[in-house]
Amino acid sequence: MATRPLIPAPDAERRTPRRARAARRSTPTVLPVPIADWFAAKGWTPRPHQLALLDQARARRSTLLIAPTGAGKTLAGFLPSLVAATGSASGERKGSGLKTLYISPLKALAVDVARNLMQPIVEIGLGLRVETRTGDTPQSRRTRQRTRPPEILLTTPEQVALLISGEDAGYLFADLETVILDELHALVPSKRGDLLALGLARLRALAPGLVLTGLSATVARPTELRAWLAPQPCADSAIQFVDVVELSGGARPDVTILETEDPLPWASHTARYAVPDVLAAIAKHRLAIVFVNTRLQAELMFHELWKANEASLPIALHHGSLDVAQRRKVEAAMAAGKLRAVVATSTLDLGIDWGDVDLVIHIGAPKGASRLIQRIGRANHRLDEPSKALLVPANRFEVLECRAALEAAEAGAQDAVVNRRGGLDVLAQHVLGMACNGPFDPDTLHAEVSTALPYAGLTRAEFDRVVDLAATGGYALRAYDRFARLKPTDDGRLRIAHPRVAQQYRLNVGTIVESPMVKVRIVGRRGASGRASSKPLVGGRIVGEIDEWFAGELKTGDAFVLGGETLRLEGFRDNEVFVSRATAKDPIVPSYPGGRFPLSTHLARRVREMLAEPRRWQSLPTPVAEWLRLQQQHSVLPGPDEVLVETFLHGGRYHMVAYPFEGRLAHQTLAMLLTRRLERAGAMPLGFLANDYAIAIWGLRDLSTMITDGAIDLDRLLDEDMLGDDLDAWLAETSLMRRTFRHCAMIAGLIERRHPGKEKNGRQLTVSASLVYDVLRRHDPGHVLLEAAYRDAATGLLDIARLAEFLRRIKGRVRHLSLQRASPLAVPILLELGREAVGGEAREIALREAAEEMLRGVGLAGDGTPTP
């Protein structure tokens, strides 16, 4: 399987690093004879950035290499290790002999790179051992790797955490010289990145003089990645950065937006209208990746493409809910050139290049400029040829967004990576891991973790709170001191209280908390006759997985689409969903949660600017420009720093529609809080809806009159103080906050994760994170994990940070219009489906209604009295 080539293609030598600060050399870099010969035998010349990294390694300096795909990045990372291996064994062995550690976010990538690395090693005749270590590595080999590791080990961040928590970590890493971090841009802005940063801080302590090499795709602000790689000095000093070698982005991508004869949909997310055009584009290319934003869209697009696929082009599907074996098959078929198109979600965003992709089709707006550039980069890996991409907006707003993304791509503009504060839950996990390694001195460990950028400036008080969280749960009530997992030694260090603590740590390691999934298995269809339904369900093959909560919403006989097949639910057993092939014409489709990224701040600003400048509308398709002109006539278009609020009567309900353009998550929070405030103001709101561009709230009172009468003051309604008590009250009940807390509690090891095979009959014993959340809010509201969860929610599911920024920006810039009817701009959101009922009472109401219905069915009223 030709995948990620380590070997540079014989082109692009003319390309030089834009900014090789590292290149302080006066004489040309000399390659050792065996390696120079090897390059020559292949007819290749080493590229300047590869030589630059070699110089950096010789000077023992850490480096960030930024280069587009296809630049021979991975070989650049390993070249210093290969060169070092040609020399005579330098120095004395202090430990296990492990010299190079390669860390990738994907285990498949680690395996792939290992395979490709063997080629030059064998051909040059280097006696280097290369091995991978992932969750799939057999236990016997993992044990051996700790005592007799290879010279080069390729692994994942979780395995690094496990290795440094072992008692033998000092021996294992004593000889370590180089750490190569692949796809660094994807790792850094996440909790996995926090954990890895802490792991690197420990590796630096174990192997002084360690050189880090970060490999990254093009990013907006490389300084953040450079700082992340550098050890940070103690508080009050300036932030440190590693050197950067940057290779500019190859040929300009050739991106077009699909122009269509058909009128564009108002509110759809499926782009069904574009199916014939998408098929035509696929037919004109060797291999296309059709990227979509959610698994649901992937299923729908795949379904629609096959319905119209008269030429029977081989088109496959690839997303995270499909069975692993099935995904592997699709990848192999891509690599073997057997496919013409693959419909995919972010599962194909990173890492491995399967096959010779020459077109990227993006269905729906890309939501962020960097994401688009990353995805476009999947097409065509020769640096001097442009990557080709086709953007297919699913609705009118997405046309604006695609246009903005295209302009951003042309300008080379990227979304900024948010400079994050490290998670306290992750730190608690790390502290426990370090205690498993051996007794630690709190002063020393605090200094060590503070060298990791996400924890630079962590106060001693904060650190102590986290140590207490790891030791006793961190409660205000000191009831658990005698059960502490960490106990002081005579010399004031902390050690684990029991070997069991280390076992628990190992089961709990990592920051990825999956939402529970159930397997979907094909069985024979149960007959229509009553007799057949008693037939036991005999399992066939597994076709994929669906979220547990989604499975819970299905009834026997419901149809849904998974893996491109329409399936009918036959029953549940042992944490599996049994299905048969459905024949129903109109399947209901699973709504997979997650996977939907909100519109990025950067793109949102570009969209607002475009709206405010009518002369830029020429570049838009006629129906879209016409739509904006109609909006000008009937209402107004907001300026780039304003927010437009329209109120009108529609469908018998009084509506308020606002257009903040701040992304779905921030909008959801805003709409929820505004609804609460409107309820208090007596506007009797009934429901709300939020999408990436706008929010709509509807109710029983005339909002236009209430605003003109002064009963509602819009400036006060949209005041920043909504992030105080209103937010707090909402946080108490929202499931989004509970979900965030559950993640934190599991990462911190406060509650146990569910492990496969353990959950059966364990329900009586399991304590739900939701209960823990409620108890803490009532009895220990200052608990460190509530704070950690709040911080996460603020930047994550609730996007409070962005909402706060928005409220500040529009202060005094709220533009209100009372309209006779809905404006053209309001049409898309009014057409959106899935309106949410107000309030946390919805479940209670559903219960009550079900009970009433049941009682009516047996002739009783709700209070148990017979119905007349």
Binding site: Y480, R763, R843
Partner: protein, 241 residues
């Protein structure tokens, strides 16, 4: 029918409590998971599992140490509403044999306050076969209340008049597109199993085999605990986990 002697009266909403018959005796299922027997002025709570948090901490999982005070706070709330002459804790009141020694002074005082002015009976369970006199109240393996017998563990087969706990019944239902899993009362008019009252107690799905041995003809009713009420739900709306 929901107006109960001793209730404070402000909450006569239709689903606030459920009145039902067990072997001819009227009982009232409360939204808290407690059961009131009006004729005997007796309040019954099952499976308090006090000090489950600290039991878990002993194994190295640091669940919050507030579960006992939260359980007792909720019990105080329901006691204040019914003002029973007698409270029966239906077994597994303490999570393990050493739970009593871990009970804090605040919690002990709360137990003592609750016992003041009324009879109190600890029925023993598999988690707490022995309950020391220090905790106050009487201790027994079972109790007859007229036609009713109270014990911790339900008897397999038919057991007319039996009110038990032990199993932590829970119902999984899907309503209005939302799935939820809630503790519930489960019974058939002749016998009843109470939901666990303890704060950190999980639940066992009523569709599991353990319940089939109690309701031999597979006929039973569930009364699901909501925030504000007890809701009788149709068998058809129940789901397995």
């Amino acid at each position: 029918m929901t107006a109960v002697a001793g209730m404070t009266g402000t909450e006569a909403r239709s689903f606030c409590t459920r009145s039902m018959q067990i072997a001819g005796t009227e009982v009232v299922a409360d939204r808290s998971g407690a059961l009131y027997v009006p004729a005997e002025h007796t309040l019954i709570v099952a499976d308090l599992h006090l000090e489950k948090g600290s039991a878990s901490a002993r194994r190295g999982i640091m669940l919050p140490p507030y579960d006992s005070r939260e359980t007792l706070r909720r019990l105080a709330d329901v006691v204040a509403r019914y003002r029973p002459r007698c409270v029966v804790a239906l077994g597994d009141s303490l999570h393990d044999r050493s739970a009593e020694s871990r009970l804090g002074s605040v919690e002990r005082a709360e137990v003592s306050d609750l016992q003041t002015g009324r009879d109190w009976l600890w029925i023993t369970g598999n988690h707490d076969p022995v309950i020391s006199a220090d905790l106050g109240g009487a201790v027994a393996a079972s109790l007859h209340l007229g036609a009713i017998i109270l014990r911790h563990e339900p008897t397999p087969g038919d057991a007319p008049g039996e009110i038990a706990g032990h199993l932590h019944p829970a119902a999984r239902v899907v309503l209005g597109g939302t799935g939820m899993r809630r503790p519930c009362f489960v019974g058939n008019g002749m016998r009843l199993v109470l939901p666990a009252f303890g704060t950190f107690t999980g639940g066992l799905n009523v569709l599991e085999q353990a319940f089939a041995t109690l309701f031999v003809d597979h006929h039973f009713d569930v009364h699901v605990l909501g925030q504000n009420g007890v809701y009788p739900l149709a068998r058809a709306s129940l789901r397995t986990d």
